[in-house]
């Protein structure tokens, strides 16, 4: 009986989802439909109360505030200024322009918490500059698309907030666990940028030697010290904001949700002071964009939670989890299967839905197999990062197409593929050395085991 209910639940969900119905209403309608058929009539009276009680958590409701912070910073010229400063300070390193782009993406991602905002803000300045300096378009696009994905790994990450809620794990610990792998990815991306720069430089040099045209890659651009120092005053406040918010969180001064509020208010103050963005007319698009994004997300979250509640009440998630455990798959095969499923779901669904819909099914078997759920949260986030840059959805690819429409989609896709491979490498490294993720939270907050 339960098995067939579960199959029907899954089939109806797929049908309704692929009909193109808004995800939030689709999940809500499926949940209510199954409540009406399979649960006592009184259950329907508690639908709204259920949704309210699940949503009325200040941890979940910090999401609109993190979005506000990201929107405020993303709408200001902070990204461009950050990029310019990084460029000026790192241009003496071979491949320094590429590294500057990776670093600027990482810093901006940590400040804004958003992948597309990072791609858009850093890429709109970085891609033209890299192309002007002779970098191949695909390489330039790849750096920005991949750098932007750090937005969901480095704290504050909305993906991680949801995972913390779904997996009932400490959000502070999860945020900290994202830093090590985030830095590892920054190092891998920067290393690849240097390797690729050297390769392109050597090719350009050889071509010039053979009498071909001189690539801009061979030109040298120098910044004077006054030029470098001049760029700092606009950037430092945002870096201080980033550090200040982290200190408030991990110094025990503020809870994660208070950090979200504090960060949003400080970001609004900073753009008012540094960029004079304070008039209602200037703030309206920031606030309207925040509402548009956060309302859409919170509706999906609320209805995903109702969906999970129904799945649990009908014992579907428990039975599915038991079935997976009963298969007694080898530990690493189980992990590969789960991550494969996340990749496939990522072709169609946003990470919020993937996390909330699958957590009740995939987490118990993973826990039973001995995986640390904080570690897995970080691995899952990196897999979803990959989803941001690999086809068919590859959100960041489309952001890049928006800001550099003349780069052929094919070049962008070829440009991002090495970065997808680097992310896979990071996951493999994390499998061998879990401490990359769990080390920092263990040091700062104490080991849990």
């Amino acid at each position: 009986m339960t098995g067939s209910t579960g199959i029907a639940f899954g089939a109806v969900t797929l049908l309704v989802m692929f009909s193109g119905m808004p995800i939030a209403f689709a999940l809500g309608a499926v949940a209510v439909g199954f409540m009406a058929v399979f649960m006592p009539a009184s259950a329907l009276d508690t639908v709204t109360q259920n949704v309210y009680e699940e949503m009325a958590s200040i941890t979940l409701l910090s999401i609109p505030l993190f979005i506000l912070k990201g929107a405020a910073i993303g709408r200001s010229p902070a990204g461009k200024d950050l990029y310019s400063a990084m460029h000026a300070w790192m241009n003496r390193i071979p491949g320094g322009l590429g590294i500057a782009n990776v670093f600027a993406c990482a810093l901006f991602a940590a400040m804004s918490g958003s992948s597309p905002a990072t791609c858009s803000a850093i890429g709109s300045a970085g891609i033209p500059e890299m192309r002007e300096r002779g970098y191949s378009p695909g390489f330039a696009a790849g750096i920005i698309a991949a750098g932007g994905t750090l937005g969901i790994l480095l704290p504050p990450s909305i993906t991680m907030i949801l995972y913390a809620v779904a997996a009932e794990q400490s959000l502070g610990r999860l945020f900290l666990a994202g830093i090590g792998p985030g830095l590892l990815l920054v190092a891998l991306f920067a290393g690849y940028a240097v390797y690729r720069y050297r390769k392109e430089y050597a090719a350009a040099h050889a071509m010039h030697q053979q009498g071909g045209s001189r690539s801009a890659l061979l030109d040298d651009r120098r910044y004077t010290w006054p030029e470098r120092v001049e760029m700092l005053p606009r950037v430092l406040p945002f870096v201080i904001l980033l550090i200040g918010v982290m200190v408030a969180l991990y110094g025990g001064y503020a809870t994660p949700s208070e950090t979200a509020g504090l960060g949003a208010i400080l970001a609004l103050l900073l753009i008012a002071v540094v960029y004079r963005i304070w008039k209602p007319k200037q703030l309206r698009p920031i606030l309207a964009g925040t509402i548009k994004e956060s309302t859409m997300l919170m509706f999906i979250i609320g209805m995903s939670l109702l969906y999970s509640y129904v799945m649990s009440s009908l014992h579907i998630s428990q039975d599915a989890a038991h079935a997976v455990v009963a298969m007694q798959l080898p530990k690493w095969l189980l992990l590969a299967a789960v991550l494969g499923m996340v990749v496939v779901l990522g072709f169609f669904l946003p990470p919020v839905s993937i996390i909330l819909m699958t957590a009740p099914i995939i987490l118990p078997p993973l826990k039973a197999a001995g995986f640390d759920l904080i570690w897995f949260g970080v691995v899952m986030t990196i897999v979803m990062e990959m989803g941001l840059i690999h086809p068919p959805v590859g959100l960041n690819i489309f952001v890049i197409k928006n800001i550099a429409p003349d780069i052929p989609l094919r070049s962008v896709i070829w440009g991002v593929l090495p970065f997808v491979a680097l992310m896979l490498l990071a996951i493999v490294l994390m499998c061998f050395v879990p401490g990359i993720a769990t080390g920092l939270p263990d040091v700062v907050m104490g080991a849990t085991r």
Partner: protein, 198 residues
């Protein structure tokens, strides 16, 4: 929606410069004065409701900021800030649902459905609008019963501050009712719009 912005929305998690751009709301069909009138009225209501929603998000951020300051600088206990922020954000979320829907901002998985022929696609869109409207109407109805129950029986939250729960329930009921009306209007527009588009 362009493919690019469609894909941006379909990630559903992020806000970016590209994602912040609001397209225009769906237009009302010409030659249908009743639907046109309701459409214009809803647009005015949605825009008016957006102002308190935007202020509520900033106010929630301010509440939580005050919470940190009050605890560490003023040394006063913080008991109302979290719940006030929750009420403000719940209100902002539900009350802006119709505004977001007017821009078709509640995203769906369009990739496969769009392969359908135009006539079948038109029916598909009508059916999903009707089912969405039916679900939101049900949700709005249950929100009103929840609100009335909380009001009459004096339900409060379990915290030490214990604010009345009819406040967020009322905001939820108003917001989902507005959303149900918005979806019903969109279904009506879809039903009378006989033009078949690819």
């Amino acid at each position: 929606m362009t493919p690019a912005t469609d894909s941006i929305a379909s990630a559903g998690l992020e806000v970016g410069e590209a994602g912040l751009e609001l397209s225009r709301p769906e237009p009302a069909p010409a030659g249908r004065p009743l639907i046109g009138g309701v459409h214009a009225l809803l647009q005015i209501v949605n825009r008016a409701v957006m102002v308190p929603c935007m202020l509520a998000v900033v106010a929630a951020a301010a509440c939580l900021t005050y919470s940190v300051a009050a605890r560490y600088f003023l040394k006063v206990p913080t008991e109302w800030q979290d719940e006030t922020a929750v009420f403000l954000l719940i209100g902002a979320t539900f009350c802006s649902g119709a505004f977001v829907q007017s821009y078709r901002g509640h995203i769906g998985v369009e990739a496969i459905a769009e392969l359908l022929p135009p006539r079948a696609n038109r029916w598909r869109l009508l059916v999903i609008d009707l089912v969405s409207a039916a679900f939101c109407t049900f949700f709005a109805w249950k929100s009103w019963t929840l609100f009335l129950e909380a009001l009459h029986e004096g339900h409060t939250s379990n915290s030490t501050w214990g604010p009345p729960l009819w406040i967020p329930y009322l905001l939820m009921a108003c917001g989902t009712s507005l959303l149900a009306v918005q979806l019903a209007l969109e279904s009506a527009v879809r039903a009378v719009d006989t033009e078949v588009r690819p």
